[in-house]
Symmetry: C2
Subunit: 456 residues, 2 copies
């Protein structure tokens, strides 16, 4: 639930504006008026999102022995979603207002503003005339085949393809319980009221793990995964103090879940969910075994038991986490000293998440030797990280432009680099830190290892 006490709409507006201006995020189809609830990532947003997804994959799949990756199709068979309960069950209760013609989620009426002035929540004014709640399916459907005879859905979550391929993964990889299958990919929901920027959108990307285990280990592993996931957020720069853990009470959880934690973050628009860690028991494999008529049991070589594994599901929203990274990084700093106001906007991304790792400047763009050395440095770093070359305007302004997009390090090739003033400094560059704005000199030869140790 949004906690209205901590909201900061002015901060949010500044963030949205910066993201558009510097090319993090654009509205999809903006040229034609925009497609509501869909977003395009611009050059910097695409890099930020890549960094997040790559780090998640590295920590979840690459660095673990017990988790395998997969990459399933978005188009999903009707039978799959029939078994999973999404057809029929995956719906929100909606009410219509006969007066303003708006449609609202019945369980969230207090978060809307009705068009009536002075603005109130739907149902709060005597003019409002709300219908009874009706179930509204959230899935997007499509048709294909030669005559459009085949129905398919755009997956509402990546999880179902993991359950459907669990047996194939098991058989082809000789894995033993407990083990997980992880996936990153797009999912789609017909959100009636997409809002809060990229937080609640119709097209979104998920980072999901289905962790299969023995029934007796489910509760313990749910707690372990919660801790693992909290550490992940800290590692990417979201402090634990800004994360809230909601232990979803009985009655609010899905009927098959024995335990669910929501990991929430203090967004400028309220405290909202980033990830759910749910102990789903054997519900999913059970419904697919029944629906497909095929055995999905696991055979334990040691105990000679045959049983349906239970599942713990840490399911994170990728776009939500990108937004949390952006909100957490955004800072304005008053630098004015002698009475003049000087506000510095700086995105304090962790170096591992920053879209551009290092910017390279010649002090003077007309100095051919400085430019040549810059280009050499750039070429030597580019196979390893995103580098940005900039030679326009005063160096101070170039620093500020990089601060605004969160580049953690700037390297300036100057007259000292050429050895023209102090011979000892020949072959060194000025390295400037984004957060402290401190500068130090570093030899060009040290630059790659120095940066590599900090930007991964």
């Amino acid at each position: 639930m949004a906690n209205k006490d901590v909201t900061d709409p002015v901060r949010m507006e500044k963030i949205v504006s910066l993201c558009k201006r510097r090319g993090f995020i654009f509205q999809a189809g903006e040229l034609y008026g925009g497609l509501n609830g869909c977003w395009d990532y611009g050059p910097l947003g695409a890099e930020l999102k890549r960094n997040l997804k790559d780090y998640w994959w590295r920590k979840t799949v690459q660095e673990r022995d017990d988790v395998l990756g997969m990459d399933g199709a978005i188009l999903t068979m009707e039978q799959v979603l029939q078994s999973s309960g999404h057809i029929g069950g995956f719906s929100d209760p909606m009410v219509d207002c006969k007066t303003c013609k708006g449609r609202f989620r019945a369980d969230n009426l207090d978060t809307y503003e009705c068009k009536e002035k002075p603005s109130v929540c739907p149902g709060a004014s005597p003019k409002c005339e709300l219908t009874e709640p009706r179930e509204f399916n959230l899935m997007l459907q499509t048709n294909f085949g030669a005559t459009g005879e085949q129905v398919a859905y755009l997956r509402p979550e990546t999880a179902q393809s993991i359950f459907c391929q669990y047996k194939n993964v098991l058989d082809s990889n000789r894995v033993k319980l407990p083990f997980g299958i992880a996936q990153i990919g797009k999912s789609f929901r017909n959100e009636i009221n997409p809002r809060n920027y990229i937080f609640r959108s119709r097209e979104f990307e998920q980072m999901e793990i289905e962790y299969f285990c023995r029934p007796e280990d489910g509760m313990r592993l749910t707690d372990e995964w919660l801790e693992t996931r909290l550490c992940f957020y800290e590692e990417i720069g979201i402090p634990r103090a800004k994360l809230h853990i909601l232990d979803v009470p009985d009655g609010d959880r899905a009927f098959y879940s024995k335990k669910t934690y929501d990991i929430e973050y203090e967004f400028p628009f309220g405290i909202q969910e980033l990830e759910g860690v749910a102990y789903r028991t054997d519900y999913d494999l059970g419904v697919h075994a029944k629906g497909s008529g095929r055995p999905l049991e696991y055979f334990d070589e040691e105990t000679k038991e045959r049983f349906l594994p239970h599942v713990v599901e840490p399911s994170a929203g990728c776009d939500r986490t990108v937004l949390a990274l952006i909100c957490e990084a955004f800072d304005e700093e008053e630098l004015g000293t002698d009475g003049k106001s000087d506000m510095r906007t700086v995105m304090r991304f962790m170096p591992s998440m920053a879209p551009i790792k290092v910017a390279i400047f010649p002090l003077l763009k007309k100095n051919e030797e400085q430019v040549r050395i810059c280009r050499e440095i750039q070429k030597s770093l580019q196979p390893w990280m995103n580098v940005f070359y900039d030679d326009s305007g005063a160096v101070g302004r170039r620093y500020r432009r990089q601060d605004e997009i969160g580049t953690p390090f700037c390297v300036t090739v100057d007259f000292e680099t050429l050895g023209e003033e102090i011979p000892d400094l020949k072959g060194t560059v000025t390295l400037r830190h984004r957060d402290s704005m401190e500068q130090e000199r570093l030899s060009i030869d040290e630059l790659l290892p120095w940066l590599l140790a900090r930007v991964r």
Copy 2:
């Protein structure tokens, strides 16, 4: 066009079987009988595809100054596709056979087999009764909004979101012509006859570049991009001798294209297209400027000219390239010496593309010290690459299992590692090369730099 002379269906069957058995590729929804034309990548396939996409992004975006990335939505507004010509124009001419009830692409009748026995192409038997060709739109449609009132399409290509955001990217990134915008992502087409495994599917991933330039540079840059792209395929392990360049003749090109090259590969099912490099003139920006009523001109600061940039588009199929990598890598080698037949199956991926870079074995799984050292090595390598630990069965069999999935290097910790036999060899491991099967000894300390120099 498929060249039937070079097809090798037996080889293709072996490849498909290996991909299923070892977890590269599964049919989507297989548990429920399968979703025709859609595929799920299993653990190894997902890693292979990631390697390909990451390398493309690195070479195309990260290592170039003149190309920016983006990541746009799949859901696409009707107006966008109206302007682009996909609504109305994006269709295949189809014929129906009244006898067998099949539907076939009218321009490709000779590649089908009709159900009539003995099997012939549609129209080749006197029994066939074909209708006149009718246009069949290839786009998948969906609806959303509170009452399903909004129509959207699943994008048939990633290119359109690039054209629609070209102005936003230009304005937010201070770039000058020529520059490109690159994107990797899913696209969808209602292929009537998905076939050739993952080659022609309904859901597929593209790697596209739209390279904006001055009109007078278009033809030259098209040739330059062709060469750049050919080098890319060589770098990932597809030899130029297996690539065919089709200079698409007048009349066969799209009406707005002044030059189009198809880059084709010798698949076991024929010579088929991997990528198109097309000079699209100012067609795309022109139709979107007209359709949206918004100016999309570029203003050249130096010449003070205002004009619509021209576009060169290198558009590669990601799944097709994955399949080419698999087909190129697949090899069977007869190793039998003393009259016994011994066939080794080996996937000769380039180390940079291989799903797993190195496997680590203790010679004896019961030797605790060997296992401990293996786990230490594994932990030290895992932040940098995919590592696989295996301790089951004879080492020779473990090598073969890795050969079959293309792991370029295997490391065995043995008694020499422990210094039990020859003190000088303490702290060294056996490193075995996949292709030559040669072995050498390497110190554990050297392992990470040695591997890093080879697997990126």
